[in-house]
Symmetry: C2
Subunit: 107 residues, 2 copies
Amino acid sequence: MKRHGQLIRVKTEKLEEYKKYHAEVWPEILEMIRKCNIRNYSIYHKDGYMFAYFEYVGTDFAADMAKMAADPKTQEWWDIMMPMQEPLETRADGEWWAEMEEVFHTD
Amino acid sequence: MKRHGQLIRVKTEKLEEYKKYHAEVWPEILEMIRKCNIRNYSIYHKDGYMFAYFEYVGTDFAADMAKMAADPKTQEWWDIMMPMQEPLETRADGEWWAEMEEVFHTD
């Protein structure tokens, strides 16, 4: 299992809409997350920053992310979410949510 | 079990030192974390922001936090960590790390 932390911003005027969508997330999105071997996935908000924590239990993260990106319902969801988001300028090439560095862990 | 997300900043010039301390965390600190019913505790870094995720498995979070705060070794650790940190101005009264709002979770 590999833990991930990711960071993005949400536009101030879109915050409530973003939260509402996530409070009523489509079942197909949850199903695809699970099929792509992601578990214990949480998103937290503070001051326009959205932090995501999840645990990847598969063996090929890139392949699972490609599978997710190829899913039509996920694309539909992202087409709504992405205009609400402001990715960090310091994110790596190819990233939307910026991967964070784990500096501490204890079970 | 109750999940927590928390946010703080670390001073740019202290980032490497902060990371080094956490890479070689004192065993007494880990022991106290466990005694205070905190599990699966991770800290992530990006652009000076430190995000903490943990799972609280006890029944009285305030009491457990008071127990942690009363521990001399934890106080010694915090006396080193706190001057490296910059708490968010928007944190609630009595907070150091700012509690974040959970906007999404799936198991």
